[in-house]
């Protein structure tokens, strides 16, 4: 009975949505805020990528809130999954070593891939204000680079990841620190500082590249921590 009700609901909703879209003026949005931002972003912020200037300059506080949501999610995942138990870890270590011998080719190619992923990830982070990309996208690449060995070979990586926690805390701290420095010197939280620089060059748009670097490190560290936690759990279930 519940299934039929659900089906009826979905059918009605789909009818409603498609009819609404049929009447929408497609691809003609008025862009009230967008037009103003497109017109003034180059003079006010000085970053070639206008999405970046929206994310970090016009709505920098929003990005800080987003980072704290990600931090909350990552820490709750750590809380829920907890530490591995002593008997489990012995068992997983043995099976991990056996797997490592089997996956020789995969692990060697991961070693080849690791520096390339690091370079591409850092490039995407650092050029976030010039090209498509930025801290979030590059951070995901960094997280993959550091955790892919543990994904291919779960249980092989048993050390504590204090460095990840440190990087995460440092990046979050520096993001807030840049914001507070802007608050002291300029009167607005997260206002871009340091001048605009030459438009289109790597050192332009003031503190935006630094902020994106902090975002990238934080996202990378958090996602890597999440992947490590979930991988450790896979061994236990």
């Amino acid at each position: 009975m519940t299934k039929y009700t659900s089906l009826l609901f979905i059918a009605g909703l789909s009818f409603l949505l498609f009819v609404i879209v049929g009447y929408l003026p497609i691809a003609e949005n008025p862009m009230v805020a967008g037009k103003a931002i497109l017109g003034s972003a180059q003079q006010e912020v000085g970053s070639a990528n206008i999405v970046t200037s929206v994310v970090l300059a016009y709505r920098g506080l929003d990005t800080l809130g987003e980072l704290s949501i990600l931090f909350a999610a990552a820490s709750v995942v750590g809380l829920l999954l907890g530490k591995s138990y002593s008997t489990d870890s012995v068992k997983t270590q043995k099976s991990g070593q056996a797997k490592e011998y089997k996956q020789f080719v995969v692990l060697k190619s991961l070693d080849l891939l690791f520096p390339m992923l690091l370079v591409v990830g850092m490039y995407i982070i650092v050029h976030g204000h010039l090209t498509p990309g930025g801290g979030f996208q590059g951070g995901v690449l960094l997280a993959v680079a550091f955790s892919m060995r543990s994904i291919v070979n779960p249980g092989s990586d048993k050390k504590n990841h204090y460095s990840i926690t440190f990087i995460e805390g440092f990046a979050g701290f520096s993001f807030i620190l840049i914001g507070v420095l802007a608050l002291i010197t300029d009167g607005n939280f997260l206002q871009p500082l340091l001048g605009k620089g030459e438009f289109g060059s790597l050192w332009s748009a003031g503190t935006l590249p630094l902020l994106y670097l902090a975002v990238g490190l934080k996202v990378g560290a958090e996602l890597a921590g999440l992947l490590f936690e979930l991988n450790g759990e896979e061994e236990r279930v």
Partner: protein, 151 residues
């Protein structure tokens, strides 16, 4: 009676709404908790696509100022794109959190079937509150068990 032309925007809108409806359908109809999570991912993808599409303009290019760009170039709205960038990252956080919860459920109850989980959960709650197990006296136990085994 309106007529709908087949343009790329219409196809994309159709795809975005279909994607979110498939996700909603999965969330309502499926019984496996992990599949419900995957449906949530689909729903999020559809909603994000819809948001990005709302900022598209006819003949618009990506909102990135490049060298040699003429003054009259139409750019897409950067605000929905920044919003979706935020939404994707938050979506990843939500998915990871839900996955951790699913791991805990699997560890505690040994199943991912929503009905079995609900049964065991109600039993646990009844035991911890020191009341009799749920289920009315009118519902014969055999019937519920047989329907559970069928799925």
């Amino acid at each position: 009676m309106m007529s709908i032309e087949v343009t790329i925007e219409n196809i994309l809108y159709f795809g975005a709404i279909s994607l979110s409806l498939i996700g909603l359908f999965g969330m309502m109809m499926l019984q496996n908790v992990f599949r419900i999570l995957l449906s949530l991912v689909l729903l999020e993808a559809g909603a994000n696509l819809l948001l990005v599409l709302s900022g598209v303009r006819i003949g618009g290019v990506a909102p990135i100022i490049t060298e040699g760009m003429s003054a009259g170039v139409v750019m897409n709205d950067p605000v929905p794109q920044a919003l979706v960038l935020t939404a994707i990252v938050i979506g990843v956080g939500i998915q990871a959190l839900a996955l951790a919860l699913i791991f805990r459920v699997k560890r505690n109850y040994g199943t991912l079937d929503l009905r079995k989980i609900r049964e065991k959960l109600e039993k646990d709650i009844a035991v911890s509150n020191e009341v009799s197990a749920p289920g009315s006296y009118q519902a014969p136990e055999k019937l519920t068990e047989s329907t559970g085994a069928n799925q």
